[in-house]
């Protein structure tokens, strides 16, 4: 049994368009299991259900049927065993970077000097110790997302859930954050469930890539580029990278081609 599993998970909801009601089948009997210490990437076109799958695993949405298992027990709702990194960081704008990281820790019941020290340690982990007292609007997009990562890591979850966390960033910032994420994962050994629509990102980060399409799993591809992946530039230029990228591209493309 992995760190997080979705067992036979389906999700449907009603979309009201004027007087009509469309029943949307967002997920159809999804089964996936993220192993301990693994980075699993969900990829697919918009509307394929990858974010819904992550939100159900996180506990922000309920499955219409099926169950979510974390650390061997069935869960409902959010808990400290899972930490979420939001698509647009979603820092609380009235709190400083440090206070944002402290927020999750406070919710977990931490108080006093330990609270501040722990938050600072995680800010340091993402390279933002010097910006601890800035408010979110005084941070760049990349810095905000680092605080978001620190906030999620600080509560020491079993699994880190990341919902297209680098999608809104410019290419250079995205690349450096990808490198840092791999670095942090190497050091902390965290299990990560990562949603993206970026093919390169999937290949660079993933141990396994789940290609999704119309609420179903199209294919699960093991991405066996060597770890640790310290030199991302070299990996990007490697033949293995190109081959893996092409393989996933075909899986994605095949998904689209069959619709014609």
């Amino acid at each position: 049994m992995g760190a997080v599993s979705l067992v036979d998970v389906s999700k449907q909801f009603d979309l009201h368009v004027g007087a009509e009601v469309h029943r949307i089948q967002a997920l159809k009997r999804i089964n996936l299991s993220v192993s301990d210490g693994e980075i699993m990437v969900l990829i697919g076109p918009s509307g394929c259900g990858k974010t819904t799958a992550l939100r159900i695993a996180m506990g922000l949405e309920r499955a219409s049927r099926g169950k979510v298992i974390v650390g061997g027990r069935e869960v409902e709702g959010c808990d400290f065993d899972r930490g979420l990194v939001f698509q647009h960081a979603e820092l609380l704008p009235w709190l400083t970077a440090l206070q944002n990281v402290m927020f999750g820790l406070e919710m977990k019941g931490m108080r006093g000097a330990e609270l501040r020290d722990t938050a600072l340690r995680y800010l340091d982990l993402v390279g933002l110790k010097d910006s601890a007292n800035r408010r979110p609007h005084q941070l760049s997009g990349g810095m905000k997302q680092r605080v978001g990562i620190a906030r999620a890591l600080a509560i020491d979850p079993k699994v880190l859930m990341m919902d297209e966390p680098f999608g809104a960033l410019d290419a250079q910032t995205r690349e450096s954050l990808q490198g840092e994420l791999l670095d942090v994962q190497q050091r902390t050994g965290k299990t990560i469930l990562f949603v993206t629509h970026d093919l390169d990102e999937a290949v660079l980060l993933a141990d396994r890539v789940v290609v999704m399409r119309k609420g179903e799993i199209q294919e699960i591809i093991t991405c066996d580029l060597p770890r640790p992946r310290g030199d991302l530039a070299a990996i990007r230029g490697s033949a293995e990278f190109a081959a893996m990228r092409y393989r996933i591209w075909k899986a994605l493309h095949g998904a689209q081609a069959t619709t014609h």
Binding site: L84, W94, S131
Partner: protein
Amino acid sequence: MSETRVEMVDQIMTLPDEQNEADKPARRAPMPSWVITTASVIIFLLLWEFLGKDVNPMFGSYPSAIAVAGWDLARSGQLGSALLESLQPFVIGYLIAVLIGIPLGLVVGRFRVLEAALGIFVTGGYAMPLVALVPLLVPWLGLGFAVKVAVIFLMSVFPIAINTWLGVKVVPKSLIEVGRAFVASDSVILRRIILPATLPYIMAGLRLALGRAVVAMVIAEFFTAISGLGGIIINAANSFDTATMFVPIVLLMVMATALNSLVGYIERKVAPWQTEISARD
């Protein structure tokens, strides 16, 4: 590894604003807002002065006559004691409205059942023709201090509650999900996420309520025991002393404007991020 990271952070840390300031060509300093406002008020007073002088003094007045009447009222001590008399129920009624209106708006906006049960009273209460109801309050609360506080409270609590309620409704779902993702209880989400996110709306409500509280104060002084600034207005009107009648009116408008600035000042103190985020020109 760590060295390259520090370098990269340094680059990102240069805020876009700082860069822009340096790149921009020098331009003429824009005229400060207070200068524009002062000029606007002076022009208004001058126009009023020249146009108002031709009007029969029973039906209108003009700034210099009002200033003279104001000086007389102030020197006799009447104005000061009337102001003090008016301010006491005003401050207490308004504060009670703040203390009840904000929590009321928060829970009505947050909890569906309370919204369904109480929302209709808040919306209805906002449109309540209080002037007509003041005579009904008198048998219950008398003609004195209590009824004035009640009238001021009833006029100002609803705009505060409605604005707070609306503010809660537009808090981004994602911010509430931050609370849920970190296992915050409903009351923690309300206090630590919804309340600060709603502050700009609450402040707008406080400003609207300020104007209504001033009106309520005068209404109360008209319809209960005649007293305070409202009392001066009604007594002067009854003796056709229009210039004197204008003194408390102008004073109230000045007071409301000053209090409005005070709320703005408090807003910048309690929600400094808001002014920094919001659009500047």
